[in-house]
């Protein structure tokens, strides 16, 4: 009889049940969407912040003091220490290798530039002093495990834009900084001649490079010529070496624990620290792998990123909380409404001899059934909603998680019970007579 009553209440007035089920499903759908997006979005946001640029700088340990002003090192190319290019693949063998998003080695040297028109009969004024920067763009780095890893400055510094296209390696191609191009009237398709002066020789050898693009960076690189690393090594006579390495790593924002000095940690603490992608532990792992290097955290990027990231994450959870609250309210209200409308029925049941407890259990069973079905539908709706939202706002679709399903079903059951508790208690206290008279 109990089951029949429950079943009847669903089949006899399907319309009302559908409305409260829809409210429940939508509420839980929103809760699912909010939860799935915020569970997945943290990593995505961290990746978004990598567009701020590299957060680690690797330099030779035994280096003389760099004379760097505005991004240009004024040391002669033969002064100071260099690092072997062949080791770079080891970056992808550290513990947090998947958190290394990109890296770009740099060789920089003062050089002289001649335009094609001046090449025939160069006057002394035609020799323009410039910086030549060699780096990777879309370069396949061999990794010790036999694979290759494609990376370059276009990934570490995504704000660098090239009008035209980036150079290809081995083709004697280059890109020219926007300010330099404007000054010398250079355009894509032109040819320039570059040479790094060699004081031990009388005759300077100029090699030709085809300009494939004009580079805008918003800083000193706009005055330079950028060539593939191998070409810069040849020009500067520094085979197989680089001077600086910019690494862009995905990190966890630093907390109080991360700021502790690793030397004062207990072994257990050290393990935790080492196995957490803090910027400082990644820096340590890189310096262990690349011998003779000094790995420094680029503070302005790393700290700015950490601050903004933790604030945005907090905001995300607050918004999720607001969505959950609204969903709970919607579900609770519809549960309450569906009990209020059944006063007559409850009156009749009591008139026929049902006691308050039985009426309460009956209504609760109905609500629970509603919650489970509605919550299940809501979960499916929510997954779809999360896909649409995630894609539109963050450019990715979050994966459905079983964990969210359990949370949502539990939440649905709890909220419908809470929402109907008060009206159910009221209802089970009704005096049947006035209700049946229609008062």
């Amino acid at each position: 009889m109990f089951l029949r009553l429950v079943a009847d209440s669903f089949t006899r007035r399907p319309r009302r049940k559908i409305i409260s089920m829809a409210a429940l499903a939508m509420g839980m759908g929103v809760a699912t969407a909010a939860l799935s997006v915020s569970l997945d979005v943290g990593d995505r946001l961290a990746k978004e912040f990598r567009s701020l640029g590299a957060n680690l700088l690797v330099t030779p340990e035994a280096d003389s003091l760099p004379l760097e002003i505005g991004g240009v090192d004024y040391r002669p190319a033969n002064a100071g220490a260099y690092l072997p290019e062949a080791d770079l693949g080891k970056l992808k063998t550290i513990f947090w290798r998947f958190n290394i998003m990109a890296f770009a080695p740099i060789v920089q040297s003062p050089a002289q530039l001649l335009t094609a028109s001046a090449m025939e009969h160069p006057a002394p004024a035609d020799y323009t002093d410039i910086q030549v920067i060699g780096t990777y763009v879309n370069h396949a780095v061999p990794v010790p495990d036999g694979t290759t890893y494609v990376t370059g400055i276009d990934k570490t510094n995504p704000w660098w834009t090239v009008a035209g296209r980036w150079f290809r390696e081995g083709q004697h191609e280059c890109v020219v900084g926007a300010a330099l191009a404007k000054r010398k009237g250079l355009r894509s398709g032109d040819t320039v001649y570059l040479s790094v002066p060699d004081n031990s020789k009388k005759v300077q050898v100029f090699s030709s490079y085809a300009v494939t693009g004009i580079l805008s960076t918003g800083s000193s690189e706009e005055e330079a010529v950028v060539v593939p690393l191998a070409d810069a090594q040849t020009l500067a006579r520094l085979p197989q070496s680089y001077r600086q390495l910019y690494v862009s790593a995905l990190t966890k924002p630093e907390d109080a624990f991360a700021r502790k000095d690793p030397k004062t940690m207990t072994p257990a603490e050290f393990d935790t620290w080492y196995c957490t992608p803090y910027i400082s532990s990644i820096a340590l792992q890189i310096s262990q792998e690349l011998k003779g290097t000094d790995v420094r955290v680029i503070r302005r990027v790393a700290e700015g990123e950490g601050n903004v990231l933790s604030r945005v994450r907090l905001l995300l959870w607050l918004v999720t909380g607001a969505a959950l609250l609204a969903a709970a309210l919607a579900v609770g209200a519809s549960a309450a409404a569906s009990v209020i409308e059944r006063r007559t029925e409850i009156g009749l049941m009591k008139a026929l001899g049902a006691n308050s407890g039985l009426v309460g259990i009956l209504l609760a069973a109905e609500q629970l059934l509603l919650a489970l079905v509605g919550g299940g539908i809501g979960f499916i709706v929510g997954i779809l909603l999360a896909r649409v939202l995630g894609y539109r706002v963050f450019g990715f679709a979050p994966e459905p998680r079983l964990f969210v399903l359990f949370v949502v079903l539990g939440l649905a059951a709890l909220i419908t019970l809470l929402g109907s508790a008060y009206p159910v208690r009221q209802a089970s206290r009704y005096d049947p007579a006035p209700i049946l008279r229609g008062e």
Partner: protein, 386 residues
């Protein structure tokens, strides 16, 4: 036809007929309005806060000499008068600005004779710590007021083995100077290798009195407003090159658009939920009022008048819920702003009418189930048929 006193009396009765339901509907509308206004307010505020947050990354505008091509440390320079022409304020907020003159000098710790080249940055202006973010690892404030005080980058400090309190000898092309170290600074950038002195020391060492290498500014403005600042400053300083630092401006714009998209889609979802919630209540109302509507129709009320009655009720409810909820929401957003960004969100008056209007719209949309009442046939209602 102006509503008669009878119209208002009926409305009053309709609204106060069932206090429990009134409470549920008002709670739903009020909570919806509160969340809407809180998130909208936070959305406007987040733009400013994010901008402020990004200022922790350092300078975002830089003024350099027009032909910035130089191969020795101090090639093209600016006249110092440019620095005095940089505005001290923008949009009511102070603009930290620092003038730099870079010299490559020979440096040694006082008392030693081993000189090595290092970059000397002469600085003048307000807010060096905003322009050059990082940490002062060692800091002795009592030396800072010394006219010959200097800060040393952490790499340079270890190269020259100096600590706060030590002095450095500086030499360049026959001129000599000295400075007393008051802080060691770590930024992770080129600044770690530099020595920061006051501008006059660098100018006299470089023999470039009244000249500057560049000016850096940290302008607290949204990306669009920053661009107009750069354009205006460019017109004001026609002989110099004024440009923004692209690195941060782009990331900031991208991250703001993500946050803003997230907040507005949440607002939409919550308004939708609110309307569902109110709709659940209203569908009960529709059933209960069959008799009333039947009676109204029987004594000659037109369908239009009946619909107007219920519409007026929905608008009134929405208005009341919206007024209360939105006001609450603005307070909530101030608190949220404090929790997220550490600074209470500034309440925007524009948010209030918008969220009240949205709530009224939601309430009208939620009155949709009442449309069934238009088709009520008085005779069948009175016979007790459904």
């Amino acid at each position: 036809m102006a509503p008669s006193p009878m119209f208002w009396r009926i409305i009053r009765r309709l609204i106060t007929a069932n206090y429990g339901r009134l409470f549920v509907v008002l709670l739903a509308l009020g909570a919806g309005a509160a969340v809407t206004s809180a998130l909208l307010n936070l959305q406007i505020d987040a733009k400013k806060r994010l901008t402020t947050e990004f200022r922790a990354l350092g300078a975002n505008v830089i003024v350099t000499p027009r032909s910035g091509n130089s191969q020795n440390g101090n090639g093209a320079t600016l006249d110092a008068s440019f620095f005095s022409r940089v505005p001290g304020q923008y949009e009511g907020k102070p603009v930290p600005a620092v003038a730099f003159l870079y010299v490559i000098a020979q440096v040694a710790k006082a008392g030693t004779i081993h000189f090595e080249p290092a970059v000397l940055a002469g600085t003048e202006g307000q807010g060096i710590t905003q322009i050059r973010p990082g940490r002062r690892t060692e800091y002795r404030t009592n030396f800072e007021s010394d006219p010959n005080a200097c800060e040393v980058g952490v790499q340079a400090a270890s190269q020259f083995k100096v600590a706060p309190g030590d002095s450095l000898q500086l030499r360049n092309q026959g001129s000599e100077a000295s400075c007393k170290v008051f802080a060691i600074v770590a930024t992770g950038g080129a600044e770690d290798t530099q020595i920061f002195t006051n501008l006059q020391t660098a100018q006299s060492l470089a023999d470039l009195p009244g000249r500057l290498s560049l000016i850096q500014l940290s302008v607290n403005a949204t990306p669009a407003s920053l661009n107009s600042f750069i354009a205006a400053l460019g017109r004001q300083l026609p002989d110099a090159d004024v440009h923004g630092i692209k690195q941060f401006a782009e990331a900031e714009g991208r991250i703001y658009s993500r946050i803003s998209g997230l907040l507005s889609s949440t607002v939409l979802l919550i308004l939708f939920l609110t309307s569902l919630c109110v709709m659940a209540g209203m569908s009960n109302v529709a059933v209960e009022r069959k008799n009333d509507v039947g009676l109204m129709k029987a004594i000659g009320g037109s369908v239009r008048r009946v619909v107007r009655l219920f519409l007026a009720e929905a608008i009134l409810l929405g208005f009341a819920g919206g007024l209360l909820g939105s006001a609450l929401g603005i307070f909530v957003s101030m608190w949220l702003g404090k929790a997220v960004f550490g600074v209470a969100a500034h309440p925007r008056l524009i948010v209030y009418p918008i969220s009240v209007a949205l709530t009224v719209l939601v309430s009208i949309a939620a009155a949709f189930p009442l449309r069934r009442l238009a088709s009520v046939r008085p005779a069948s209602v009175f016979r007790g048929e459904e």
